[in-house]
Subunit: 225 residues, 2 copies
C-alpha cells in the first residue's frame, strides 16, 4: 500500500493520491436578499439532499474549468469568474474516502440563473433569511458559504459592484441598495457616494421614469482614472 520511505524511489508520484473535488458557492442577489445557489444531489451520493454544486476534478483539468463545468452540468448555468477560497482537507469530511475539496465562489446576476431555477433540482437559499437551510448543508458546505459571503462583503467594501450584479448604467441609489444587501447593514448615503464616485464613470444620461428626482446614471470604471 505504501511505498518505502527512504530508498531512492521510482517516482515521487507513486505517493497515494487524494481525490480532488471542487465545490462552488454561486452568490446572487434576489428580492433584496443575498442568496446562494443549491442543487439537489443526484444518484451518486446523498441522493436528494440540497448541496452546493460540485464535481470531481478530471484528468489534467484546471480547477476553474472544473468549476465552470460543474455549474454547467449540475445547475445549467454559465459561471463567470470562479475564485478559489480554501481547500478543505479533513480526511473524515466525506465518507466515500479521502477527498480534498477546493472551495470556490462565483457571482452571477439573477438573470443568469432564471432558466436554471425553473428546474426543481435547483433553488436559491437566502443567506440571511434561511440560516437553517445553510447550516444543514452536508460536506461542510456551510463553511464554504460563510467564507464566500465574507469574501463578497470584503470585495463590495472596496469597489462598486465588483461582481457586476447590476446592469449598466445604474443610479447611485441602485448601487447603494445592492451594497446594503450584500453588507447586511445600511450605508450612509453621502459617505457611500463620496467613496464610490471616483470609481465610477458618468454617462451624462439621467434616470427616467423612476420615483423621485431623476439622478445621474453611471457605469463602473477602472480604479485608475
Amino acid at each position: 500500500m505504501k511505498t518505502s520511505k527512504d530508498a531512492p524511489r521510482a517516482s515521487l508520484l507513486d505517493y497515494p493520491r487524494p481525490s480532488v473535488a471542487v465545490d462552488t458557492a454561486v452568490l446572487t442577489v434576489a428580492d433584496g436578499s443575498l442568496c446562494v445557489l443549491l442543487v439537489r444531489r443526484g444518484e451518486d451520493h446523498r441522493h436528494g439532499r440540497w448541496a452546493l454544486p460540485g464535481s470531481f476534478l478530471r484528468e489534467r483539468e484546471r480547477l476553474a474549468d472544473a468549476v465552470l463545468r460543474s455549474l454547467r452540468e449540475k445547475a445549467g448555468i454559465s459561471g463567470r469568474v470562479p475564485r478559489q477560497l480554501h481547500v478543505f482537507d479533513d480526511p473524515a469530511r466525506d465518507d466515500r474516502g479521502w477527498v480534498l475539496s477546493v472551495a470556490h465562489v462565483d457571482v452571477v446576476p439573477l438573470a443568469g440563473l432564471e432558466g436554471a431555477l425553473k428546474s426543481d433540482g435547483v433553488r436559491l437559499a437566502s443567506v440571511a433569511e434561511e440560516p437553517e437551510v445553510i447550516a444543514g448543508l452536508p460536506y461542510g458546505h456551510a463553511e464554504i458559504v460563510a467564507k464566500a459571503v465574507e469574501w463578497l462583503q470584503a470585495a463590495y467594501v472596496e469597489a462598486p459592484d465588483p461582481g457586476a450584479l447590476l446592469d449598466e448604467p445604474f443610479t447611485l441609489k441602485e448601487l447603494r441598495d445592492l451594497h446594503e444587501v450584500v453588507a447586511g447593514t445600511s450605508l450612509m448615503r453621502d459617505t457611500f457616494r463620496r467613496f464610490m464616485e471616483p470609481q465610477l464613470a458618468g454617462t451624462g444620461q439621467m434616470s427616467d421614469g423612476t420615483r423621485g428626482r431623476p439622478s445621474r446614471l453611471w457605469v463602473r470604471a477602472g480604479r485608475a482614472e
Copy 2:
C-alpha cells in the same frame, strides 16, 4: 480499499487523481530585511537548486501537518501556524506529472531558524534585496512568495506583529521598525502609535540601557479589550 456505496457507478473515487503537494514560504525578518527561507533540493528532482520547502501529501494527512512535516524534514525547523494561500493547478507546472500544489505561508522569528541556517542546504533570501533569486525559483515558487508577502503585509496593517516575530515585551519603536520592514515603507510615528496602542497591553516596565529616552514596554493584547 474502498467499496462502492450503491449501484449505478462503481465509485466516484475511480476518477483519476492528481498528486498533491504543499509548498511553504517561511517568512522572517533578518537584518532589517524581509526574508524567505529556501532549501537546496535533494536527490529527487531539480537536484541542487534552491526552492521553497515542500512535500507531497501522505495518505490521509492534513495539509497543515504536511507543511509542518516538510519544514521539519527539509529545513529542520518548527513551523508555527501554516496558513493556506492558494492552489496552483497548471497541469504543466511540474514536468514529473499532474501535480497540484497547495501554497502556504508561515512566519517564524529568526531565532527559530538559526540552527537550520548553519546547514549549507538552507538559506534566506531577502525579498526586497535579492529579487533575482526569488524570480529564478522553479515550479512557480516566485508567485507563492509574492502571495505570501502580500498576505503578511496585509496582516501587519491590521494588528501589531501578528506573526509574533518580536519577543515580548517590546517598545513601540521596535514594533514600528519591524512593521516598516514588513511594509517596505516608513510609517508615521504618531499615526502608528495611535493605531497600535489600543491593541497592546502596557507592562508598566520601561526599556533600559537603550539609546535615547526610555520608553514603555508592551505586550500584544487581544483585540477585544
